[in-house]
Symmetry: C2
Subunit: 410 residues, 2 copies
Amino acid sequence: MESTKFQPVEGGVCAAKGFAAAGVHCGIRRSQTKPDLALIKAEVRCAGAGCYTTNKVYGAPITVDREHLADGCAQAILVNSGNANTCAPGGVELARATCELAAQALGVAAADVLPSSTGVIGQAMSLEPFAAGIPAAAAKLEASAAGSHAAATAIMTTDTHPKEYAVEFTLGGKPCRIGAIAKGSGMIHPNMATMLLFMTTDVQAEPAVLRKALAEVVPATFNQITVDGDTSTNDTVLLLASGLAGAAVGPDGEGYQTFVAALTQVAEHLSRELAADGEGATKLLECTVTGAPDVLTARAVARSVVHSTLFKAAMFGADANWGRVLCAIGYTPGDFSIDKTSVRLRSRAGEVFVCENAAHRPYSEEEAAKVLAEDEIDILVDLGCGSAAAKAWGCDLTYDYVKINGDYRT
Amino acid sequence: MESTKFQPVEGGVCAAKGFAAAGVHCGIRRSQTKPDLALIKAEVRCAGAGCYTTNKVYGAPITVDREHLADGCAQAILVNSGNANTCAPGGVELARATCELAAQALGVAAADVLPSSTGVIGQAMSLEPFAAGIPAAAAKLEASAAGSHAAATAIMTTDTHPKEYAVEFTLGGKPCRIGAIAKGSGMIHPNMATMLLFMTTDVQAEPAVLRKALAEVVPATFNQITVDGDTSTNDTVLLLASGLAGAAVGPDGEGYQTFVAALTQVAEHLSRELAADGEGATKLLECTVTGAPDVLTARAVARSVVHSTLFKAAMFGADANWGRVLCAIGYTPGDFSIDKTSVRLRSRAGEVFVCENAAHRPYSEEEAAKVLAEDEIDILVDLGCGSAAAKAWGCDLTYDYVKINGDYRT
């Protein structure tokens, strides 16, 4: 279940002071209607940090993002859907050329533009649509909820709806914000799902502080999402801080903790949205592991449960199959005991306690069916051998997943 | 594609000298017709070795198998389907009691009986069906193809057909045999798939030699099968050697190599059969990785490809989606380069060369569709950075997989 410590606010990636966004159609996709180019621009040069896929095969834009963030600063994010610019001839040169175009249109340095792509891999991308699309997007930039919405829409592939979120929190008596847009698991042509996340904030922070905060938040949130276990070649999280709220975040202390908590709330909210909108999904699965010997074990167990194909299929069938939960816990790597494991299944409709000390616990099948008929299921696992906890998010495995990924051509 | 160095022969698990088998229905399952109890008996006390699931949650029979094989000897294998005897109250005691019953019926020591179970987990198993079933099975034991077939049928869950195989080879001028029965991915009630493999041979070998041979063959064959990535709690491979062929196998040398090659052929054949009969499968996928820096990397890459949910769905859709192959190679753990990777897709209908140096290679979509319309697809991956090779087997992801595992109650 979601917990909201900080107040959610409107505005998505434009909620924080100093950020404008836009989305346009420029012809990277064949579709004449679906927007395929998004632009996020900061009023000022921002401190920035990024996290990227661990896949050995990675998109050309990631190479350029690493170069452009080497100095810890950036001022714009340029995102296209329709082509992942991965394993594509001349991809890095093309990504650099798109940054040049954005630099001209926005009046910023090319080295302060961060490119990002999602779509089909292995196909050369043409610069032509960008030449027209970037000035068009630049002309439409809006520091508003509408601007964020247009950008969130332009980065979608088979996502069923755009994903935006923002929160407000207080630092040193000053209101500050973190906002974000995201795209999840989808494909425009047969390809891997890609997670893209663009976050902005108006706190003032050194790049090293942003990197530290991302390094804390990403493993506990975005890395705990699994739709099909395939790690995309283009997964990217970018965070820009404009400093325009007039409040500074240092590398530790109360201010830093508040910032990390707010960033975590944004990341958790979007992680849940990304998992719930996984391809073909009808249910969001949230596994909360408690009583683990350490946090890495807690995270691995939680991921293992929501990643289990058998359990995901059982959830689609609304079957309280705790044996599959236990099985998935059992094959999680790491040295921990399972003898004291308990499992509860919970939703808006109630809770069933199905497994205690790694053994069957009598429960009403009728009650379980009622709980599992909901579209948001919490799986509560207590390992009973420590005090560490973690969450992971996934979705059920459905006919539509197979249809989207196998049957799309027929 | 399968290579057969040694001559396949009839007789399955009874092909080697000294082994009889039977299968009966005794009421562990509710169904009145499906056999649920299998017995394999050796004329003499055999050298034996076993390999078991790495899941931290494992069946009670595995505890007893480890005890009973501690001295390296066994004379009978007792297998039931319908209940996995896992996370079940009193499971170990019950497994021991079934061994006592088998010992009485067969005139062997209880400590020489190896129990094995597959089916639903978390439910208490009753001794009653065994009390009637074991003497019935003992009375039906046959050292024949019919005996093997009856046993192979009794261990099936949702397998669509029984799985048996045997080969003949020559050691020191003497004909020797290895035979086996297997069950794969299926479930009688919502549960995890379980792989059970019972192999017999008439060579004479010390238990340590059998253990060494299994330790070589299992990682290259059975551990390279993936249907849904869920490691069962009950996976078991058992190998018994009667010595009745009059030929000895030592811990190394030519004879040992021949034995391992024959064992590998049996294991590979059954690995292919298990993968091809994966739940809901319409296609067998065999990934052959060459040019790897070492064999562990080769194995991991091959497994990663046939395990990729996205690639499995693409194969169901007969889509030559090499981007998904490359993506799966890229997220395989380990330190290796992907720049020189090539990918070919091959079947009886021909071959398409789809990716060279990790980039798109022009090919005919028509030709690719023809190749992928077949029910056995070879994915040939050359990493181009070494000389190690490995294979892995899997199957496509289909609507029926979701139906079997999610929708079974509706």
